[in-house]
């Protein structure tokens, strides 16, 4: 049985999945057992705080301990899996949604999970705005959340369809009986939640050096999870984490491994990798007229034509992140929306130095009259540094001299948001279930701000095109999938025409896995969830699929 797509349920049909979660893709059930080690460089020891509202370390609790209402898989065209909600129903104009909370779910302390808990979770964000990590009560227009019986109703100011992923998937549900007393109640935002009580498949014991997750015996999906113990050591650096992966000491990796072939894949035939791309990494030109060069189309075209994206991908990202395309649609993840023909027609499918030179000439630059530009990037992102070095090489013969200015995180973002740059190298912070999320962030004029003011919402380049705005607005309320695809393709056409940003490579969810003792991993053929260990709530799906081979 399968769940319904959002688009399908627009009429208001509620899903009533009898069996939920990952079990839908797995055929058999497995015996429990085994201890799996996750190697994911963290750069610090574990703070042993599990407050799911805390954006710094909610990835240690969400998915493992706290669960969402509905899981939405970005990689499978936003396929939904009901989790704590067994179903939901929109009203006609999609300003109100009613979730049916699953029966028989217990918190790990034995108390039952109720609709009250769900409502409490959302209302706590209203009561303590610092907890509202996704601005549900402000930007998304949430006005009330009420529980009655097993139903939870959320009411919005406007059509909230595009926020479904946020409120249904990203928010972890917390137990009211724990959070409404003591320290937690007094300071829910700073409370560290040291011994989290959740509904998820695991419970945790934490020391700064290691988190040990034990299978939750009371988990509401009987028999799951199959893997009884997870070890999650704190790796301070890539090196040792990679080494543990290569040696098979750790089985689940979620970070970049340079020279992955020789260093990891060749070490064992059980070692595999699959890193699905979800976002773009782009050269961000400053479109504000005060930036004479980069605001000229010719310059941007020249840059876009000249950059050898395949080479950047190969050298800068070790071939592990595919080259991006100029429409900004991530492939193969969002292939449905991809308009390869249009890209080829515009000539952006491969580097073309002749066109580049010609376009640059229209802007008045040439090797004899070179253009000097500074590109800002983030200190410590060595793959980006390497990519920029390649881009620099590509642009130099044209007469565009790039100087990289590698800045601390905070300075970089300060400049990026305020528009204080010629060129920036960077990406949007988060992905959504379709290209819409990223493209809207990049291109909608509501997301920009005059130079000097913060355009944190994503339109750093200061692109303003009413036509694109309207396309994106239509998407938010678009009824059918076809409509959505067509809208995205139209936006893509504008991308090809205006080049507001120049995508160079895609950015991937790093993922390495070892199949010797463990099975059930997500793969390119079965992309049932984003595979990185830190990628919540997808990690829960993976956890529910994994099993220990020797125990079978």
């Amino acid at each position: 049985s399968s769940t319904k797509h959002t688009s399908d349920s627009s009429s208001g049909g509620s899903t009533a999945a009898s069996s939920a979660g990952g079990a839908s893709t797995g055929n058999a059930s497995y015996k429990q057992g085994g201890s799996l080690t996750i190697a994911n460089e963290q750069g610090q020891t574990w703070p042993c705080s599990f407050n799911p509202y805390n954006s710094s370390f909610n990835q240690e609790s969400l998915g493992f301990i706290y669960e969402p209402l509905i899981y939405v898989n970005i990689l499978q065209d936003a396929k939904e899996t009901p989790m704590l909600a067994s179903g939901y129903q929109w009203n006609a104009d999609k300003t109100q949604i009613t979730f049916t909370i699953r029966d028989g779910v217990k918190w790990s302390d034995g108390q039952p999970l109720t609709a009250d808990d769900v409502a409490y979770t959302y209302n706590l964000m209203k009561q303590t705005p610092a907890l509202d990590d996704y601005s549900l009560w402000s930007a998304a227009g949430l006005t009330s959340v009420t529980a009655s019986g097993s139903q939870v109703t959320m009411t919005f100011k406007q059509n909230a369809q595009v926020y479904f992923y946020t409120f249904a998937t990203l928010v972890g549900i917390i137990p009211k009986h724990v959070w409404s007393t003591g320290d937690a109640a007094a300071h829910p935002d700073t409370w560290t939640d040291p011994n989290p009580v959740g509904s998820g498949p695991y419970t945790v014991k934490c020391t700064p050096n290691n988190m040990e997750y034990k299978a939750n015996a009371d988990y509401w999906q009987p028999g799951k999870p199959y893997v009884s113990t997870l070890e999650y050591p704190a790796y301070l650096d890539n090196g040792p984490a990679n080494q543990d992966l290569a040696s098979g000491k750790a089985q689940w990796g979620s970070q970049f491994i340079t020279g992955i072939k020789s260093f990891y894949l060749n070490k064992s035939q059980d070692n595999h990798t699959w890193s699905p791309p979800v976002l773009n990494v782009s050269v961000i030109p400053n479109l504000d007229p005060s930036h004479k060069a980069t605001s000229q189309l010719g310059v941007r075209q020249a840059i876009a034509y000249a950059i050898d994206k395949a080479k950047v991908s190969a050298i800068g990202e070790d071939g592990q992140e595919p080259p991006a395309n100029q429409t900004g649609v991530i492939t193969p993840t969002f292939d449905k929306y991809n308009d390869a023909a249009a890209i080829a027609a515009a000539g952006y499918d491969k580097p073309d130095l002749t066109k580049a030179a010609a376009d640059l000439a229209t802007a008045g630059y040439s090797p004899s009259n070179p253009l000097n530009l500074t590109m800002i990037s983030i200190q410590g992102y060595t793959d980006w540094d390497a990519s920029i070095a390649v881009i620099k090489q590509d642009l130099k013969p044209l007469g565009i001299n790039i100087t990289e200015s590698s800045l601390t995180n905070q300075t970089y973002f300060d400049k990026l948001y305020k528009g204080d740059f010629d060129l920036a190298y960077g990406s949007e912070p988060s992905a959504g279930p379709s290209p819409y999320t990223e493209l809207r962030a990049w291109l909608h004029s509501a997301n920009t701000a005059p130079l000097g003011q913060s355009a944190a919402a994503g339109n750093f380049e200061r692109y303003k095109n009413p036509a694109v705005d309207s396309l994106l607005d239509q998407y938010a309320t678009a009824g059918t999938e076809d409509q959505q695809v067509s809208l995205i393709k139209q936006v893509g056409a504008h991308m090809l025409q205006d080049l507001p940003i120049i995508p160079v490579t895609e950015s991937a969810d790093w993922f390495q896995y070892n199949t010797k003792n463990f099975g059930g991993w997500p793969t390119a053929d079965n992309p049932y969830a984003q595979p990185a260990a830190f990628n919540y709530p997808d990690n829960e799906q993976v956890l529910l699929h994994l099993y220990y081979k020797p125990a079978q």
Partner: protein
């Protein structure tokens, strides 16, 4: 009383004469001569010289002209005739990177070391010469800077500065690197202050500025040189440390940066170990060169430390003490008068 040299012997024997009082009493040529005859100094200088040549004429050592450009060669080549030490995972020639990488550490050493020394001399000498309240204030500030843990401060400062350019790095190194020298300069200048030859100049009718610049500084020359070498050593190590931590300019070609890249690209584990080893050796050699020369200067200015010879006359020994022990320069902290 010291030994008197034969008045009439034209060539003065270098050995037993020359009161080593406070060590720094040799003429300029004396310093140079002593430097030339010190083995540690020679070895140190030799190392430094080789690196210097490499930094100034890199093209003599490698045919690759733009070593940082990525993708010039196949990545991760093993050492061979074409690529002496192989290539990086970004397809750069490691040997060429190393050769060109000598320049920046040398510039940092010389410029940051030099500037820090100049500040030390200015601060130290003026504190000693002004005396009284100005001295109290200056030496308090010096001691504060001396006590504050430098490297954390360097890290914090360069992080705050946002953009890790060479200039900022040098500035940070100077800001944190002058205090040790200033303290030594002050101690030395204090011990010189009431030395008769300065009073003799004053009684002769010289101006204050002349006395400081032309009478005082030349006598401190070997301390100043030693200080410069120490400051240069500090700068090399601190800069390399910063770059290694990723607080440098990642585009620069410098040994510290090379190490940073090698570290972040797991060079040791992925078959490009030379990427890390070469710059490590480079930094070590440069550091050792400065350290050897520095120690040689210690020996030159404090003959007692020299390998064979021993300290002489007891009466001199008591005059020798104040300036000779570097560790004690800090000992008094603020309380030294």
């Amino acid at each position: 009383m010291t030994t008197l040299t034969s008045a009439d012997s034209a060539t003065a024997p270098e050995a037993p004469v020359g009161p080593p009082a406070s060590g720094r009493r040799r003429g300029r040529s004396g310093v140079w001569r002593a430097f030339l005859s010190n083995r540690k100094a020679n070895v140190g200088f030799g190392m430094f010289f080789v690196l210097l040549v490499m930094a100034v004429f890199p093209s003599l050592f490698t045919s690759v002209s733009d070593p940082t450009a990525p993708g010039k060669f196949m990545p991760r080549l093993t050492p061979s005739g074409g690529h002496l030490f192989g290539t990086t995972s970004l397809g750069q020639d490691i040997w060429a990177l190393f050769v060109y990488g000598a320049r920046e550490p040398l510039i940092i050493a010389v410029v940051a070391g030099g500037l820090a020394t100049i500040v030390s001399v200015l601060v130290g000498v003026s504190a000693a010469y002004l005396g009284g309240i100005p001295d109290d204030i200056i030496s308090f500030v010096t001691n504060v800077v001396l006590v504050i843990p430098t490297f954390p401060l360097v890290i914090v400062l360069s992080a705050y500065a946002g953009k890790p350019t060479l200039t900022i790095m040098i500035a940070v190194l100077v800001v944190t690197g002058w205090s040790y020298g200033a303290n030594q300069m002050r101690a030395q200048a204090l011990s010189l202050r009431n030395r008769d030859f300065l009073e003799s100049a004053r009684v002769r009718g010289e101006r204050r500025s002349y006395i400081i610049v032309f009478e005082m500084l030349p006598t401190m020359i070997s301390l100043i040189i030693a200080n410069f070498l120490g400051a240069a050593l500090y700068s090399v190590l601190a800069a390399a440390g910063l770059q290694f931590l990723g607080l440098g300019d990642p585009n620069s070609d410098s040994w510290g940066t090379m190490l940073y890249w090698a570290d972040s690209q797991s060079a040791l584990e992925s078959g490009t170990a030379w990427w890390a080893i070469l710059p490590a050796i480079g930094i070590a050699v440069l550091g050792v060169a400065f350290a050897l020369m520095n120690y040689a200067f210690d020996e030159i200015s404090n003959p007692a430390l020299r390998p064979v010879r021993r300290q002489r006359g007891k009466k001199l020994a008591s005059r020798l003490r104040p300036a000779s022990a570097p560790a004690s320069a800090i000992a008094g902290g603020g309380g030294r008068k």
